[in-house]
């Protein structure tokens, strides 16, 4: 009967009580484990570049001004908080904080930059073997991402038929 179903529907609502929260007038922290903004700890970072290689949004740039220095620059604009960087970091230098209230007038607020002093490998200067073939594409060696303009630069081969292969710098 229509009336009883209406009464039931109204009762469902009233019995539930008020469920809305006063956020943002009162703070409401997310659940533990919420993936918010990644925080980079320069003291633990060894400069392997795994975070940059595994970021699906290509938001972590690496630039080597010289043999001993490596700049790791997290842009934070397209970061989706997927947590891959934290997951692959061998030194647990990246933690996913719970910060999600990130609106700002200045995009530079979202950036994090680490300038690291790198030890040199005696054989070639700097190289890290890819641990698994799935990482085969991941970049090793010297990096020349364009930090000024905020762009990832990597070398890839086009696969158009009939063309001789050569390296192409593709900017993202």
């Amino acid at each position: 009967m229509a009336l009883t179903s209406k009464l039931k529907e109204a009762w469902i609502g009233i019995a539930a009580g008020k469920v809305t929260l006063p956020y943002p007038l009162a703070p409401h922290p997310p659940a533990a484990g919420f993936r918010g903004r990644p925080i980079f700890d320069a003291s633990k970072c060894i400069g392997c570049g795994g975070c940059a290689s595994n970021c699906p949004a290509r938001e972590i740039l690496i630039f080597d001004p010289c043999q001993e220095l490596r700049v790791i620059h997290y842009l934070g604009r397209r970061c989706t908080s997927c947590g891959r960087c934290a997951e692959v970091c061998p030194e647990k230098a990246i933690t996913m904080s719970e910060a999600f209230e990130l609106a700002t007038n200045s995009i530079a607020d979202l950036e994090q930059r680490l300038t690291l002093f790198m030890g040199s490998c005696q054989r070639c200067g700097r190289c890290f073997p890819a641990p698994t073939p799935l990482d085969a594409l991941k970049l090793t060696g010297y990096r020349i991402d364009d930090v000024e303009a905020g762009r990832w630069v990597f070398r890839s081969r086009p696969s158009a038929p009939g063309e001789t292969t050569h390296d192409v710098d593709i900017e993202l």
């Binding site: 529907e9 109204a10 609502g13 009233i14 009580g17 809305t20 006063p22």
Partner: protein
């Protein structure tokens, strides 16, 4: 001469007070309705004073003048509020209506009709496709709803044997020895009240969507504020009308008690409107008109009964 002037001055003053009361209280009643709706929907709801804030905000907004005839739209907005406020001066709201000596039930009916026509005018002046849709639906609704209102007043007038407002708006449908017609009209008006209030499930014509479709779709800024205020005041006026016709008891008590009694009854009606609106889906226009027609049929029975003194 001095006495006449004094009484005229008093009428004017009380009319102004009446209008001010309605203007001030109507948004508060809507605030109560919104809180109740929110409670049924398990949420917090806006503060009670939110309708005031909304009106203030609208008054400060830019008027886009997006309709086809903005001058007519503005006129319709002013006229709408003016007619509703004029009606308010004719209906007792806890104290005798200041202008009840001026007009009779026919004037009251005319003014109520005019406020409906203002909505049609608004939609026609806007000229956009979906405001025309709203206008046609409003017209269809009015064709069945206004006669019911006329019959309600007519039944009262027949029993009171006069069109004078002071007598009609004083529980006149109950004046018969066996108030059958009064009973029928009470039920009819109760069932139809939601339609007069223009709320779900019977708001097919006016507030069709969240962004104000229907006749008011091309309204913005101050014009919209006036219409919104008019709608809020309309609820007060209709509540007053209903109470005066069907549940007038307590109007004879000394001043503060009569006033409180009236507003208590009006509050009950307002809350009922909110509860019904919160628990129903909107009827399609054809379904709504079908229901109005049934009510109209019963009200015609009532007027026949009233003509025979029942």
């Amino acid at each position: 001469m001095g006495g006449e002037l004094l009484s005229v001055a008093l009428s004017v003053l009380s009319a102004v007070a009446n209008v001010a009361l309605v203007l001030l209280v109507a948004p508060l009643l809507q605030g109560v309705q919104r809180r109740i709706t929110a409670r049924v929907q398990s949420r917090q709801g806006p503060p009670l004073l939110q309708p005031y804030y909304d009106l203030l905000k609208l008054l400060g907004k830019e008027d886009l003048e997006s309709g086809e005839a903005p001058a007519v739209q503005r006129f319709a907005a002013y006229l709408s509020l003016a007619t509703v406020l004029a009606t308010a001066c004719l209906v007792p709201l806890g104290f005798p209506a200041p202008l009840s000596a001026v007009g009779d039930a026919i004037l009251l009916l005319y003014l109520l009709l005019l406020s409906g026509v203002c909505t049609l005018l608004a939609g026609a002046a806007a000229g956009s496709t979906y405001s025309w849709v709203g206008v046609s639906r409003e017209m269809m609704s009015m064709m069945t709803l206004e006669p019911i209102l006329a019959v309600a007043l007519g039944v009262g007038a027949l029993h009171a044997r006069s069109f004078r407002l002071g007598e009609v708006l004083d529980g006149s449908p109950w004046s018969a020895a066996v108030p059958l017609s009064g009973l029928v009209m009470l039920v009819v008006m109760l069932l139809g009240f939601q339609a007069y209030a223009g709320r779900v499930p019977f708001d097919a014509a006016e507030a069709e969507t969240e962004i104000m479709d229907g006749p008011l779709s091309e309204y913005s800024g101050q014009k919209l504020a006036l219409f919104r205020l008019a709608q809020m005041c309309k609820l007060v006026v209709y509540a007053g009308l209903f109470v005066a016709l069907f549940v007038p008891w307590g109007a004879d008590l000394p001043f503060p008690l009569a006033f409180l009694a009236f507003w208590a009854k009006a509050l009950v009606l307002v809350v009922a409107v909110a509860l019904i609106a919160a628990t129903h889906a909107r009827y399609r226009v054809d379904q709504a008109i079908r229901r109005y027609s049934v009510l109209l049929a019963f009200s015609l029975v009532a007027i026949v009964l009233a003509a025979f003194g029942r």
